[in-house]
């Protein structure tokens, strides 16, 4: 089929779809990066709640991670999208303002972040538990405030343990952005489908998009491996 493919369709300017594809790719990266960071914050909060929170907080965090891990991402995204926009519109209505249209980027980031947060909670909880408790107790015994202990001892000491899991989560985040195509976000996968449907060159466009995703995965893999090596300096070799 290669000879039948018309590569000029991938040109960057208007008759070609290359520009649209690249714009969609950038959008996907933005969504993944934003969702990942939000997930990291939720994960830190969730792990803290699970390890140091009161009974109620601990159970709430447990229910959250259970829900995230048991229900398909696609369904969760649909739920978060409708509940999120609905709640925000109701809130705006209650404050006497007009209902606003939430821009797609923040809604997508919110949806991805909430899903990522469930997995990040588990990763970070495991990493914090791998830190010898004596180190944290010693910091407390020196009179550091709990926040300072977190910043100076717990976070730096748990990083090497959390990195492999968090690297995996970044890969999942980049691939999860494709699911937003089903809700109608114009990220790489949806743009690709539109381009393919308009030109009927399905193989050309889907393979081009696949190469973009693959490049993102492989390049981040290199970066993450370097980061992991750096974070593990001075630690015994990984088991």
């Amino acid at each position: 089929m290669i000879d039948a493919m018309d590569f000029s369709l991938l040109a960057l300017s208007s008759p070609g779809w290359g520009g649209a594809l690249l714009a969609g790719f950038l959008r996907s990266v933005e969504l993944a990066a934003g969702g990942y960071l939000l997930g990291l914050v939720i994960g830190l909060l969730g792990a803290t709640a699970k390890l140091y929170g009161g009974r109620v907080l601990r159970d709430i965090a447990e229910i959250y991670t259970l829900l995230i891990r048991a229900v398909p991402e696609l369904v969760l995204m649909l739920l978060f999208y409708y509940v999120g926009t609905d709640l925000l519109n109701k809130l705006m209505g209650a404050m006497g303002r007009e209902g606003i249209d939430i821009d797609g980027l923040s809604a997508g980031i919110l949806v991805i972040g909430l899903v990522q947060g469930g997995y990040a909670t588990e990763v970070i909880r495991g990493a914090i538990r791998a830190v010898p408790p004596g180190q944290i107790e010693a910091a407390l015994a020196f009179g550091m405030s709990p926040l300072k202990v977190l910043r100076r001892v717990t976070l730096p000491a748990m990083t090497p343990h959390a990195l492999p899991g968090m690297a995996n989560l970044w890969m999942i985040a980049t691939k999860d952005t494709a699911l937003l195509a089903v809700i109608g976000f114009s990220e790489l996968t949806l743009v690709t489908k539109q381009a393919a449907a308009a030109t009927r060159e399905y193989f050309l466009f889907f393979i081009a998009a696949g190469l973009l995703y693959l490049a993102l995965t492989l390049i981040s893999n290199l970066g993450l491996r370097w980061l992991e090596r750096r974070a593990r300096r001075g630690l015994p070799a990984a088991a």
Binding site: D59, L78, A196, F206, G210
Partner: protein, 276 residues
């Protein structure tokens, strides 16, 4: 990529007497939370609109069957494909090894939805161009959507499980293989009697997690018009203009499915001797 820990056997917790098992559920704050959950459930059942449910029950049942059929068939076929994929990456000749590694990398590095659409739209359009295929006995099947969904889900499961199998084949202790050789077993017999069963045994604990992940991947086939559970619920939402009720039901069904699957797999796992 971080390898999955397949060395630590997961053992079932020793059985506790019933009262000790119930005690954590009877703590005051949990009683309050259970009460709140019950109240919320009652509100959902009585306040929301469920009048559509009886009419759609048969369709929902059918969708559930489609989801389960896709899950079981793609896991079985994918696992069968993962065994050679894993073995070849550890012991195969170089070209085969590169092919298998490349396959796993490409599938694991791109979104499942993209693969699904590539196979459905791409292959579907390609097949339609050939009169030989259109005239063959396969065409009635190839015109439907589910073979493409099944193929994509199978390839995806094979790639992820193949990576696990690679680790499992590489992790079988050298001494066991050398002992088999020392007994005078030919290479194929070593593979059949020692290496292969030991590798599968080592990979079993991660299988449960992979199967749950596969369950969560199945709703994607709804985007290529396979009428699984998710597609039925989407249809209900479009027909009744209800946003939340069908979605809540869908989440409840998936929660039950994941829960039941986890319990069944844990029970099965406890029946496999851990060997170490």
């Amino acid at each position: 990529m971080p390898d999955i820990d397949i060395d630590t056997p997961i053992r079932p917790a020793p059985a506790l007497p019933l009262r000790a098992r119930l005690a954590p559920l009877l703590m005051p704050h949990r009683l309050v939370m259970a009460g709140l959950a019950l109240a919320a459930l009652t509100a959902i059942i009585t306040q929301m609109d469920w009048s559509w449910l009886p009419g759609y029950l048969p369709k929902i049942g059918h969708g559930l069957l489609v989801t389960l059929a896709l899950l079981v068939s793609s896991v079985a076929a994918g696992f069968a494909l993962a065994l050679p994929l894993g073995a070849v990456q550890v012991t195969g000749p170089a070209p085969l090894r590169w092919l298998a590694t490349g396959f796993c990398t490409v599938i694991r590095g791109t979104p499942l939805l993209l693969q699904l659409w590539l196979i459905y739209y791409g292959l579907g359009a390609l097949f339609a161009q050939f009169p030989e295929i259109r005239g063959s006995w396969l065409w009635p099947y190839l015109r439907q959507a589910w073979p493409y969904g099944f193929l994509t889900l199978t390839l995806s499961f094979a790639a992820y499980q193949g990576e696990v199998m690679r680790g499992a084949f590489a992790g079988v202790p050298r001494g066991e293989l050398e002992a088999a050789r020392a007994f005078g077993m030919p290479r194929m017999m070593v593979f059949r009697r020692v290496w292969f069963p030991r590798a599968v045994h080592r990979a079993l604990p991660t299988l449960a997690g992979e199967i749950i992940l596969q369950l969560k991947a199945t709703p994607l086939v709804a985007t290529i018009t396979v009428t699984d559970l998710y597609a039925v619920i989407t249809r209900v939402r479009q027909a009744t203009y209800l946003t939340y009720e069908p979605l809540l039901l869908l989440i409840a069904i998936y929660l039950c499915l994941s829960g039941t699957l986890t319990l069944v797999l844990r029970w099965l796992e406890a029946r496999v001797p851990s060997g170490s």
